[in-house]
């Protein structure tokens, strides 16, 4: 009687070890491209109907920095503003102009980005072919109607800087 009981217990023990299991594999990819806002832009108001970030107009150009650990894996996409995100009510059209260019480099070869950049609409795309840091400055201006003064109030626009894996 005792022997049978022990045998059945052993069988139960062995059958418990036959279960299958699935082990998850976790991974995390951190981008090797970092975008940092270096300088906040300020609109100058050289004319009643004009707002500009150009220093000659009393403005400050916003500057963004791209840090790339490995060359030729990312491209920078910078969009200069074509509308106000905050402004008084405007009854006329606003004409936007903008330009993105290299402000500072950590390697002289990055200075050539101005020659290789691709521009369309209000977007500038630069293939980041050199590892290191590149500073881009954005010059943007807005002209209200034709010879019209902008209404008084607070105006705000946004520059979008993205790092895209190629």
């Amino acid at each position: 009687m005792f022997n049978k009981t022990l045998l059945s217990c052993l069988i139960m023990t062995f059958s418990a070890g036959a279960y299958a299991t699935q082990v998850p594999v976790m991974g995390n990819v951190e981008s090797k491209c970092v975008v940092t806002q270096d300088v906040v832009g300020v609109f100058g108001n050289p004319q009643p109907g004009t707002l500009s970030t150009n220093p000659s107009d009393g403005g400050v150009m916003p500057i963004v920095r791209y840090d790339v650990v490995q060359a030729s894996y990312y491209s920078a996409r910078i969009t200069h503003p074509n509308s106000f995100t905050e402004s008084p009510a405007l009854s006329d059209v606003v004409y936007w102009e903008g330009d993105t260019s290299v402000a500072q480099v950590s390697d002289p070869l990055m200075s050539d980005y101005d020659n290789t950049k691709i521009e369309y609409d209000n977007v500038t795309e630069v293939a980041l072919t050199v590892a290191g840091s590149t500073w881009f400055k954005v010059d943007a201006s807005a002209t209200y109607g034709v010879g019209r003064a902008l209404p008084g109030g607070s105006y705000q626009a946004t520059v979008t800087a993205e790092c895209i894996a190629i």
């Binding site: 500072q104 480099v105 950590s106 002289p108 200075s111 050539d112 840091s133």
Partner: protein
Amino acid sequence: MLLCSSHSYSNEVFGVTQNATSFGYQWVMTNILPQQAGLQVNAVIYNYSVDKVTEDDFLVHVQNENAQGEGYIFRETDDWSGIPGNTINKNVAVPNIDISYWGLGSIETEGKGTVYDAGVYYSYQFDPCFDPQSNPSCPGYESPVDLNFEDASIYDPLADDMIQNELDRKANLKQQKEDEERRERLKIAQEAEERSGLESLLGIEETQYEFSEEQIALHQQLMALRGLPVGYLNSLVGGSYEDTITLKDKELPNNRRGLRVGLAQELKHQQLINLQYAK
């Protein structure tokens, strides 16, 4: 059991220098880096702008000479050839190079172009307890000698074995010299005495010769024959004989020749004395 422990430790101090190019594109590092023992430079941060024609060749060297040898301890070259001018902003890590290696710093250019608005900064770190004696809280700090006389041990040089041995050695040398001189003097005295004894001995022989048996016999014969005068054996009465010489010239002039000789002798004497002290 309650165990108490206390220890002090030192934290690394990190810092960045002022702009080395404040007074030109060549700088002396002793004026830039803090003169702290054990200081190490871990990075060089620089920026400058380049004005050039895109097609031109242009090289910019940011460098530091090796103060411990030839060449450069740090030299970063930026090649702007065929590239439009721009502003460069660079952070170059260096493997914690000791302050003693950092020599003259400079920005040099090659080719056509201009560098302007330059800035060079050195990131450094150092251990404030590199010299443990710099601060009592540093590990390994040793208190200086306490000037409290109750605790202070007085150093007696005469108790020093080395000094005592040297003194003994000198004393022995002096003693040996004195012994030697004493022996020399005794020897001289002994020789003099022997000489004197010999003379005496010789004197006795002369006496014996003077008063030989034949002479004594002859003397006795003469005495017996009364051949000798009566006063032969009488002794003369002694006394003093006064000087009767008188000098006519009371004043004698100085003998110049004699004076010269005297002076010469004195000079010679002085030279001989000096010879004793000459090495």
